[in-house]
Every structure is written in structure tokens, then in C-alpha cells.
């Protein structure tokens, strides 16, 4: 049973409802279910004990995910953009995998002694393979294995069990709640936890899953219009690129009702631009981690509108919040062992059935009472709105004072000459760490170090003013929009320290 329950229920509620792909493809809930039964038979016949998926996002992925679940083996979507050596290393960490791979990446498998199917061949086999006897699947079995992006260390393999994923969906989504004709456009890759969550939540809600494999802002806008997309999820860098693409010429997207964003911190100026460009669209901020089976906090449409229209700084600040914890998830902000009161900063700990906190080979990161340390710095206001200030590892300690890079970054981003910025700590003999900023200037803008320092000093104070600022044409990001902070210090190694 397990997560296949979600598909089975959607199928029994409305078998004829379109479930995945373009409208012309006409793949219904019943059709999707049939493909996954065929796919499960393919997996069982191969003798594989796991499935590796190496490919761009597309209809083959939801088929593979549910087929693996029916076959009782976990699926591991891998980052196809990794170097061949890294991909082979990750494949080596999986238990006897059947590899489903796009033609374009087949060369990675050269010489590997593993059963391999191209994505096209996989879909053909799913459509033709007769149903087979399938094992009983326990809710406690692993369903999805996700390798973390490794922005701070080597990738860890997060284990999401059926009970984690199923709990997330059952707590947050009403089965069959989507309207006839609703469609969700997925731009995140399969190896991102949102790429996994989106399969389950949308299938369960009865909302057609539509994929954009290689994101460009133009292709996104075209697909939203042509396929009458009602819901789309983007990472912040995608939203910024969409806004840059449309400029002052905001297109008509009459079907689009909801735009969800998450996966990395959203710069507030980008969000405010987006809210003004699409005044009729509902915005949703989703916060979650791979280890928590996707979303654990949501800032809803009404929260966005109230905050944008408010003159009260505390209410307006909620635009920078990730919202409130969802049902089934508890949260605490802790300073070491002490739970801190509302308004104070600390590390966010969360607990709930959807929280896995488990790593293959490393065991569980949960404490005895089931709490998971997110390693995110956060504070919660009186009304339960959660503010995430960045990774604990990124906190800069300057002269004994903790400084979250986000606070300084937000101020710099409000300067018209700044398009993008990252703030980090560098070793410093006097202060332990000093503040450094890498700034990407806005197009055509004149950027001056002293002007920017004065800008920060006037709004924060001297201790939070960057000691060093350098300019670059772009910042290093993962392809899911996460800033690669550990690459930044080397940018300073070639720049002489100011006297």
C-alpha cells in the first residue's frame, strides 16, 4: 500500500481526471495508475533493490516514483548535472539499483555493471509489461532516497519512508480538492525534495502535473499560457529571472491562480516586485528541508496581501517570514538546551510524523523525544510566524557578536545599485571574523564601496557594516537556486586586504 494509497485514492475518486503531462497526451489518473503497475512489474523482474533516476523532470518521474513504491523498493533521483565521477560515486552508494536514465546521460553508465533502461524505453515497458505479483510494502519501508546538495559538505543520503511522505500529504492536502482542469507546472528538478513532494500532493489533489525540464523564463511563461497552468512552484532565482524577462510588459496569464516559492531565501525586493507584477495571483511561501519531507511552514496568500498593504513594520516584516508551521509539525527555537521565548533567535528544531531526520549509513539525527535540529537559525513571533535567518553554519561571529548574513544582505539589496549580494565571514586577527560582502551590481549602476558601507551603517550599525566589499558579475548557485557560500571566501583570496 504505502504512498501508492495516494494515487489509488485519487484514481478511485476520479479515474478520468488528467493526471500528468500535456493536455494532448491525455494521461488520466487511471492511465497513470496502469503505467505504475506495469513499471512495478519491470522493477520486480529486474531483481533490483532500488531505482536510480537520472534525468530531467518529466512524466517518466511520477511513473517511476509510484512504480518503485508498488515494487517495494526506494527510488533515488540523482542530479544529472553532476560530473560522471560523482554520479558513479552516488550510484555506488545505492543497493543493487535499476537505472532509468535519459539518453543524454547514458555515457555515465558505460562500464557500470548495472541494469539500465533509457527513459523512453522505461515508459514503453511500463505501457506493455503485464502486471506481476507485488510484495507487501510496509509504511516503515524507505520510499525515496535524496542526496543533499552538499553546499557545506559531501552529499548525505536522506531516507524518506512511506510513513513520512504519506503523513505530509494526508495532513496538508484534501484528496480530489483541485478543480477540473487545474494544472501544476513543475520547474524544480526531480532530485529536489519539492520535486518529490509535488508528485504526491498534486496527484492526491487531482491536479495535473506538467513539467518544464529546462527552465528558461520565456519557456515558463509560454507553458503557463498555452497549458492554462493554475499553480506553479519556483525557486527564488527563477522568479527573479521571470520578472527580468517580462520587465514592464506583464503578460496576461488568466489561468494562473497560485505561485508558490521556496527552496532558498527569497530576497524581499524580488518578492515585492512579483506581488506588484501579478496582483491577482495568490503567493505562497513554502519552507521545508529534505529531511522533513518537503514543506513544514507556509506563508499563505492572505498573509502576503496583509503584509504588503500594512504600514505596521511588524506586520510588513512578515513578507520576509516563511509563515506558520503546518498541521502535524511542532517547532521550537532553542539556544543550546534552552527553548527561547517568542522574538528571540536560536536554532529551529522540529518534530512530527513527516520529519525523517535519517541519513543512510549515519542513522537518525532526531533526539530522544523525536526532535530534529534543522541547523537553520530562526525566530518565531508572538503569532507563530517563523523567520528563517540562514544556516547556523553561516552565522558570522564578529567580536563575540552573532550576525546572520541575511540581515545585512537584505539591507544591501535595498540599495538601487545592488542586484545580488552575499555576506560572509572571513578570518580576522582583531575580530575573529570580519564581515565581507560580494556584490553583483545592478545593470548599468555605479557601485562604490564607501557608499554601500555608509548605506548599511546608516540602517544597521558599525558592527554589521561589511569590512570588505568586492564586486563580481555573478554569484555561484546550485541549479536549485541555493547560494554556494563555501565557494565565496576564495573570491577574496586574490583581492588585497585594504589597509
Amino acid at each position: 500500500m504505502a504512498i501508492t494509497l495516494l494515487l489509488d485514492l485519487a484514481e478511485s475518486m476520479d479515474p478520468e481526471r488528467l493526471a500528468v503531462g500535456l493536455r494532448d497526451e491525455q494521461i488520466t489518473a487511471e492511465g497513470l495508475s496502469r503505467l505504475t503497475v506495469g513499471g512495478a512489474a519491470v522493477i520486480v523482474a529486474s531483481g533490483a533493490r532500488s531505482v536510480a533516476f537520472i534525468g530531467v523532470n518529466g512524466s517518466a518521474f511520477p511513473v517511476a516514483m509510484f512504480a518503485a513504491a508498488r515494487a517495494g523498493v526506494p527510488i533515488a533521483p540523482l542530479n544529472y548535472r553532476l560530473a560522471e565521477g560523482q554520479l558513479r560515486e552516488l550510484l555506488g552508494r545505492l543497493d543493487a539499483p535499476l537505472v532509468i536514465v535519459d539518453e543524454a546521460y547514458l555515457s555515465v553508465l558505460a562500464g557500470a555493471d548495472l541494469p539500465v533502461l533509457s527513459t523512453d524505453e522505461w515508459m514503453r515497458r511500463c505501457a506493455t509489461e503485464p502486471a506481476a505479483d507485488l510484495p507487501d510494502v510496509d509504511d516503515g519501508d524507505p520510499a525515496v532516497l535524496l542526496f543533499t546538495s552538499g553546499t557545506t559538505a559531501a552529499p548525505k543520503c536522506v531516507v524518506l519512508r512511506h510513513q513520512n511522505l504519506q503523513s505530509y500529504v494526508l495532513q496538508t492536502v484534501e484528496p480530489g480538492s483541485a478543480a477540473e482542469g487545474d494544472a501544476a507546472l513543475v520547474s524544480v528538478p526531480t532530485y529536489h525534495v519539492a520535486g518529490v513532494g509535488t508528485v504526491l500532493t498534486n496527484v492526491f489533489a487531482g491536479r495535473r502535473l506538467l513539467y518544464l525540464p529546462n527552465f528558461t523564463p520565456r519557456a515558463w511563461l509560454d507553458l503557463v499560457r498555452e497549458e492554462q497552468v493554475t499553480f506553479a512552484m519556483v525557486v527564488p532565482t527563477m522568479l527573479a529571472r521571470i520578472l527580468d524577462e517580462i520587465g514592464d510588459d506583464v503578460p496576461e496569464l488568466p489561468a494562473l491562480r497560485t505561485l508558490a516559492y521556496g527552496g532558498a531565501r527569497m530576497p524581499q525586493p524580488v518578492l515585492e516586485r512579483a506581488l506588484r507584477a501579478f496582483p491577482t495571483v495568490d503567493f505562497v511561501n513554502a519552507y521545508g528541508l529534505t529531511e522533513t519531507s518537503s514543506t513544514i511552514a507556509v506563508l499563505g496568500p492572505e498573509d502576503h496581501r496583509v503584509a504588503l498593504d500594512s504600514d505596521d513594520p511588524a506586520v510588513r516584516a512578515r513578507l520576509g517570514s516563511v509563515g506558520r508551521l503546518i498541521p502535524g509539525v511542532e517547532g521550537q527555537v532553542r539556544d543550546f538546551d534552552r527553548v527561547v521565548p517568542a522574538g528571540e533567535e536560536g536554532e529551529l528544531w522540529v518534530r512530527g510524523e513527516q520529519v525523517s531526520g535519517e541519513y543512510e549509513g549515519l542513522g537518525s539525527a532526531l533526539d530522544e523525544a523525536g526532535w530534529f535540529p534543522t541547523r537553520d537559525r530562526a525566530r518565531m513571533d508572538e503569532d507563530g510566524y517563523l523567520f528563517v535567518l540562514g544556516r547556523s553554519d553561516d552565522v558570522i561571529i564578529r567580536g563575540g557578536e552573532n550576525i546572520a548574513p541575511a540581515e545585512v544582505e537584505d539591507v544591501l539589496l535595498r540599495h538601487p545599485a545592488v542586484a545580488e549580494v552575499a555576506v560572509l565571514g572571513l578570518p580576522d586577527e582583531e575580530w575573529g571574523e570580519c564581515l565581507a560582502a560580494v556584490v553583483v551590481p545592478a545593470t548599468g549602476a555605479q557601485c562604490d564601496v564607501e557608499v554601500l558601507r555608509e548605506w548599511v551603517r546608516s540602517q544597521l550599525r558599525s558592527a554589521k557594516t561589511p569590512d570588505r566589499i568586492i564586486f563580481r558579475d555573478e554569484l555561484p548557485h546550485t541549479d536549485t537556486g541555493k547560494l554556494l557560500r563555501r565557494q565565496l571566501p576564495r573570491e577574496f583570496s586574490t583581492v588585497p586586504t585594504p589597509s
Partner: protein, 102 residues
């Protein structure tokens, strides 16, 4: 029977099946149509019928909860037979949908 989130149960007097969404844990007496519910994979006892006082129909894809909101069930197969916890009938839960987020 120990009820955990994710536990699947069936009625002994009709086709009704449910999945537990929320549970306080521990031993709870859950019934459908006046007869105890059993694990979804088990066979019902023979000769049981729906009690006249417990003959409401359940609705596919709907959530049911007790007045104290201790337990929540989602109906995965509908049928005749009132759902009840320790003798108290469960009511249809008003959905408070969250906005879609992924």
C-alpha cells in the same frame, strides 16, 4: 488495536475502508456499522450486519473526526455503516485546506 497514523482499517459489515490520519495512540475502540473495525488485510467475521442505529453512509475521500478531535480518519472506500470511536459517532470534518505549496 494500536492505532497509528497510516494504519489502514476495514469495516466488517460493508466495503468501508479508512486510513488513520491522526491518533492519540494507544488502544482505541473504533467501529463501523456497530462492529469493530479490523486491519485492512484481515478477513471479517461471518454473519455480521450493520446495526440499525449505526447505518449512516461514509463518503469517499472525506475526513471523519470525533467531537474532541482526538482521532481523524480518511475514507478510502465508502460504504454503509457509521464510524464511531468508543461508541460515539464520528462526524464529517470540515476541511480547512492549506494553500498548495509544492
Amino acid at each position: 488495536m494500536e492505532l497509528k497514523p497510516g494504519t489502514r482499517l476495514r469495516s466488517q459489515v460493508g466495503p468501508t475502508e479508512v486510513v488513520v490520519v491522526k491518533s492519540p495512540g494507544g488502544d482505541l475502540g473504533l467501529a463501523c456499522g456497530g462492529q469493530p473495525m479490523i486491519p485492512a488485510g484481515d478477513a471479517p467475521a461471518e454473519g455480521l450486519t450493520v446495526a440499525e442505529t449505526a447505518s449512516d453512509s461514509t463518503l469517499l475521500g472525506k475526513r471523519y473526526t470525533d467531537p474532541d478531535d482526538r482521532i481523524e480518519l480518511l475514507v478510502t472506500k465508502p460504504g454503509v455503516g457509521t464510524l464511531a470511536l468508543d461508541g460515539v459517532g464520528l462526524g464529517l470534518k470540515q476541511a480547512k485546506p492549506l494553500p498548495a505549496s509544492d
